[in-house]
Amino acid sequence: MIEWVHPGLILIFGAFLIPLFKGKWKQAYLLIPITAALTVVILMLMDVLGNSGTFWHVPFLQYTLILGRVDKLSLCFALIFTLAAFAMLIFALHVESSIEHMAEFFYVGSALGVVFAGDLFTLYFFWEIMAVASLLLIWLRRTDRARRAGFRYFAWHFFGGLCLLGGIIMYVITTGTIEFDYIGLGGVGGLASYFIFVGFILNAAIPPIHGWLPDAYPEATVTGAVFMSAFTTKSAVYILARTFPGTPILMYGGAIMTVYPIFYAVLENNVRRVLGYSLINQVGFMLCGVGIGTPLAICGTVSHAFCHIIYKGLLFMSAGSVIHMTGKEDCTDLGGLYKTMPFTAACCMIAAASISAFPGFSGFTSKSMIISEAADLHYGIVWVLLQLASAGVFHHAGIKVPYFTFFAHDSGIRVKEPPLNMRIGMSILAFFCIFLGVYPKPLYDILPYPVHWEAYTGDHVVGQAQMLMFASLAFYALITSGVYPPEQRKINLDTDWLVRMPGMRFVWFCERPVIAFGNFIDRNVLRLAGVSKSSPHSIELTENLVDKFYHKGLTSTPRAIYKGLEPLKTETGYLPWNLIYILLTFLFFIIIFLLLGVTI
């Protein structure tokens, strides 16, 4: 009897079969792995498959990898990851490119791998796959700006990944174990915990290391951005909730993180960049909840992450549909679209109402937990900042995004509604936005701690509605009086400057002085070797031998495999098959390591 199946690995291995299918068959196949993963997670929740404990212990060197640590926290995140991925995949069904679907599957699968990881090595492994898969989703836009943004995105995550790797190595050396649970800043791990912390919060996009998010997400493909909005930051929130709950720096950092991006979102012109900033703002609420660290705050964080993935996915979907249909993504070019896209406009408004925690929509039932817990523990400044951010998020995501895209000044663009699969994907998420807002009990039941939370009390509803509606009054008053800053075709300086300017200088430093120095040494060594001239003939013989061995012997095996695979290549060309070749090599190494682990 099967005890437990890893839903992430279903997706990762399922991804390799995608290039074999075409057209309708591909669309049908795409739904199989994700449905299987979703079913597995639901079966786990219903306690048919194991719903607590650790599974899949794999010996690795002298350690044991734990691929499946299952408890209420990881199950909750696994459920929302698979559920959101299901809707997002339906949204992306019209995409022909196999490689894009493979990247999506790898991305979701590795995010699930992070969620179920019970040890630091597994965590790091999936963490890096996630970074690379999301990078592919940016590059597949195939524009020059996307290429540049992708490199910057990779530079940030490379830095974060190195911090994490260094921290993990130090942690393993000091504690002697690769298993982890609560780490805590400066606790058992000492210095190691700070490095691990930096690696985690970089993926959570806390200012000032958030520059990658608003920089890269708007450059990703339409469907890629929808996936990216859900997994990178929320897996970081999950891992922080597990390893660093109750860290004061997260609470204050999270509170600042909710306010900081609001100003940028007001100034920004690109629709998806506005959404990127509001994503940072929402993750700030979650990190604040992690920093408070009480059971209710953690529950608030988890449920907010749950709702957030749904409504943020829906916002990116509606913005993506507009970009897909009109080809324009700036607020200055859009407007008046509700006349021909009423369905997309309605979905966008549902998501916008959810993100601004409008009573009756999903954000309200989750965000109020965090804010109310901050108030109950008398963190006055945090409470004021969070409420300011709540008013602000209504302002920029609740009104600005639907208003400037679908209403405002009529741009004269008349396009049809997006394709059917996009509309189905949007309606699934829109349904959950309203369902969780009206009847949040199913969500509260699966939270990691038992909570008795009543969101719909008189003072919560009235207070929230008053705050939001008077924020909208301020918007109306300022926009009719002309005080509201008009949209401009400009870019705003943010911390991506760090990678763009000093980073470029660093690259220049590596390209020019360092290489010049290396060439200088090479030349002189060669000259010295030339002076000795022991026996030129033997040197030539050795060189030929080395050449034969490396350039012919070692490369002939992969070439033979490649020759065998070549006739099978599909419409997308060689890339998927190269990936299969990488997988084969990878499996080969894994098997060798496993054998080593068993024998030693």
Partner: protein
């Protein structure tokens, strides 16, 4: 002389009857103090806020919506009702300032005005031309 049934009249009639329902249920709740009517009132209140939100999106449109003036009236009636119904609510006081009359309304308004003026201030420094980085890079490398 009988007035024709137009979109505009229909819209207004719907809204007026909705307000009447709220008033009716408010009085029933005031008379009975039962949980159920409180719940119903709460949800009607939520719907009122949603009406205000939707009408805001339409009324600030350019060129002006045909029913703009009516939408503005509806919007402001909603705002007034939201404040008025909120007055007798029992607040759960965690900080002293929450006890102010219509505190949340004032805070939401003030927060947004502050936000926009601060953003206007930032606009003096932050925005750069679209090819800002390309230019800089061209000069250095």
């Amino acid at each position: 002389m009988r007035e024709k049934i137009t979109d505009r009249n229909l819209l207004f009639a719907f809204f007026a009857s909705f307000l009447a329902v709220i008033a009716l249920i408010f009085f029933i709740y005031w008379y009975t103090h039962s949980e159920l009517w409180h719940e119903v009132l709460l949800w009607l209140y939520v719907i009122l806020a949603i009406i205000a939100y939707v009408s805001l999106c339409f009324m600030a449109e350019k060129p002006a919506h045909p029913h703009r003036s009516l939408l503005i009236i509806i919007y402001f009636i909603c705002l007034a009702t939201i404040v008025l119904v909120g007055l007798p609510v029992q607040w759960h006081i965690q900080f002293a300032w929450q006890a102010l009359v219509a505190f949340y309304a004032l805070y939401g308004f003030a927060a947004c005005v502050f936000l926009i003026y601060f953003a206007k201030g930032l606009r003096l420094r932050l925005p750069k031309d679209l090819d800002y980085y390309e230019k800089k890079r061209g000069r250095r490398l």
